[in-house]
């Protein structure tokens, strides 16, 4: 059989030559298709929710001095200029936890090296865990006792999230598509936060703990990254507020 294409309109398959009506139809189809594709891309882009104001400046490595406190997740307590104690959450740069390494330093003055993750008034330090990042403090560090205050009972709607992701490692660091990531982070040692939202959309951030202020991880994994409702006690420790709940009463909404 001959393999030479015939110049004939019906050989659509292997002949480059379309009839002029076919060519017009194809040009029209391509034109409509491309306009549709561009419109679709534009619509899909502009209807997205916000990305959050979280930020992680990985370029600027800093040393901070303070007191290590792990009740129940690692923070570094530092005295601000006004004399108030500020808590900087200490997290890994990758998906792990810093607790084990910090344990021997509990309550002690240290220097820590890391990069700052911040969202709103919340500050975290991602320790540079691939180099020396921890040692005894070189300067005198103020160490007033932790100020603790019981704020009352609360029933809150919100989402359980990994502190680091929500505060700037991921943008957005919440929602369904982020659920598996948040769950992995918390499982591997991340700090669970409860990001509460009231009906007006006003947001408040709490450190999520067990009823006595103990750490929660495996217990909440199934609920991470979805809308949930929980009730428990609010307890302020310095500038962080803990939401102390029995994981059994956390419910999907």
């Amino acid at each position: 059989m001959s393999k030479t294409p015939k110049k004939d309109e019906f050989f659509v398959g292997y002949n480059a030559k379309l009839s002029s009506a076919d060519r017009r139809a194809m040009i029209l189809t391509a034109g409509i298709g491309l306009v549709g594709v561009a419109l679709g891309g534009a619509k899909a882009a502009v209807h997205q929710q916000g990305w959050g104001s979280g930020d992680w400046d990985m370029g600027e490595v800093r040393d901070i001095e303070g007191i290590v406190e792990q009740t129940p997740y690692p923070v570094l307590r530092t005295a601000a200029l006004d004399g108030q104690m500020r808590s900087v959450s200490l997290v890994c740069s990758s998906k792990c936890g810093a607790s084990a390494i910090l344990a021997p330093y509990e309550g002690k003055p240290v220097w820590v090296r890391g990069t700052v993750i911040s969202r709103g008034r919340h500050r975290l330090l991602a320790v540079v865990d691939n180099q020396d990042w921890l040692g005894d403090a070189k300067n005198a560090v103020a160490a007033p006792p932790v100020e603790e205050e019981y704020l009352g009972l609360a029933a809150l709607n919100g989402e359980i999230l990994d502190a680091k992701c929500w505060a700037g490692a991921m943008r957005p660091g919440s929602g369904k598509t982020h659920k598996a990531c948040a769950s992995l982070c918390i499982r591997m040692g991340g700090t669970p936060w409860f990001v509460a939202k009231d009906k007006a959309g006003k947001r408040a951030i709490f450190v999520l703990t067990g009823p006595e202020g103990e750490p929660l991880r495996e217990e909440v994994l199934a609920m991470v990254g979805e809308p949930v409702r929980a009730s428990g006690k609010l307890m302020r420790r310095d500038d962080l507020v803990q939401f102390r709940v029995d994981p059994a009463v956390i419910q999907a909404v």
Partner: protein
């Protein structure tokens, strides 16, 4: 042309077709990324990887909808037939976009831990009984594996090796992948985003694809009804002059086979409508240089015995024909591929 595989040739039309698909993809991703960045509120910061994850995922999904619409469009109007020819390239391209989306997701969301990212993906969320928490990622993985199998086997080589009908059945798997992806999108990004645009557009695309398939099946059946044989077993397909010279009339038998009945040189011959190459519709071809020529890639067969002229060795089934009382009859039982049959001679005098 024997049984080894013969690649289908490239041509200018195909190059332009692929170029437009590539351009469309770049356009979509560029518009999406550009407008996402431009519509950022003050104080918000973006993660470029997360924007790309969304851009590639959306591009792959949109392209799959387009690919699936081409088949029914071509059945509804022959004008769309040229679109069929690079569908496979689009399929492979769609898989590449999906793979990029999946790779970025895995690296970004499941990387950076002591666990293997793939293990992490499946261990992170096991709430298969919940709708709000359903691990929609697993649906995407299943669809990606299917698309990978289809992409790899899309080459003509596999079509020749597996046989066109087995190949076609395997490639129906694209509908399974599509179903999985619709659920992947609905239980993933659509659940997360607040705007109605997202569920509306996914459901809208699904309705278009499903609607085109239903519509084309409906209209297709009207023009291509199964024809019953008369009592003696022969099918009456009407007078010979209802068939254009060097063209065929296609009949669908009760056992669902399609027969192409050709008229040429004052004779009638019938062969299977299915080309031995890639199942092209021979009855939509015509007789060129005395041979039935497939409209898809130009393979040829002699009308009298269904064999490709030497040196080629392809064979298709032939059917018995006769003319009686000015009507053409074809017997619906196929003869073994390559069986010589006697063409029915059109008696012009009797026809008057």
């Amino acid at each position: 042309m024997s049984h080894q595989f013969t690649p289908v040739q490239w041509n200018g039309f195909k190059w332009r077709y692929d170029a437009i698909v590539l351009f469309g993809t770049i356009l979509f991703v560029a518009v999406f990324v550009g407008l996402t960045m431009a519509s950022r509120q003050p104080g918000e910061s973006l993660a470029p990887v997360q924007i790309l994850i969304r851009a590639f995922g959306a591009a792959a999904f949109l392209l799959l909808n387009i690919i699936l619409s081409i088949g029914p469009l071509a059945r509804i109007s022959a004008r769309f037939k040229p679109l069929l020819y690079n569908r496979r390239h689009m399929g492979v391209w769609c898989f590449s976009l999906a793979l990029t989306h999946a790779g970025l997701t895995l690296m970004w969301y499941q990387g950076f831990s002591a666990l293997n990212p793939v293990v992490a993906l499946f261990a992170s969320n096991v709430q298969y009984t919940s709708i709000a928490g359903f691990p929609f990622e697993s649906l995407g993985v299943a669809a990606l594996i299917l698309l990978a199998m289809l992409a790899v086997s899309s080459h003509d080589y596999w079509q020749a090796a597996l046989g066109a009908s087995v190949w076609k059945r395997i490639h129906m798997g694209v509908y399974v992948a599509y179903g999985l992806l619709v659920m992947h999108v609905m239980l993933g990004i659509v659940q997360e985003e607040k705007a109605e645009f997202y569920p509306a557009s996914v459901i809208g695309l699904f309705c278009i694809v499903a609607g085109l398939h239903i519509f084309s099946a409906f209209t297709g059946r009207v023009t291509d009804r199964r024809v019953k044989a008369s009592l003696d077993g022969w099918i009456n397909i009407g007078p010979p002059d209802k068939i254009a010279e060097n063209r065929a009339k296609i009949v669908r038998t009760e056992s669902d086979a399609r027969i192409a009945v050709f008229r040429y040189d004052g004779k009638i011959s019938a062969v299977s409508n299915v080309c031995a190459h890639q199942n092209g519709p021979l009855g939509e071809g015509r007789i060129v240089d005395g041979c039935i020529t497939c409209p898809w890639h130009g393979w040829q067969y002699r009308p009298e015995d269904g064999r490709s002229p030497a040196p080629f060795e392809e064979k298709i089934s032939t059917y018995r024909v006769q003319i009686d009382g000015g009507m053409v009859y074809v017997h619906p039982d196929p003869l073994p591929p390559g069986t010589p049959t006697k063409p029915a001679v059109i008696d012009e005098a009797a026809n008057v």
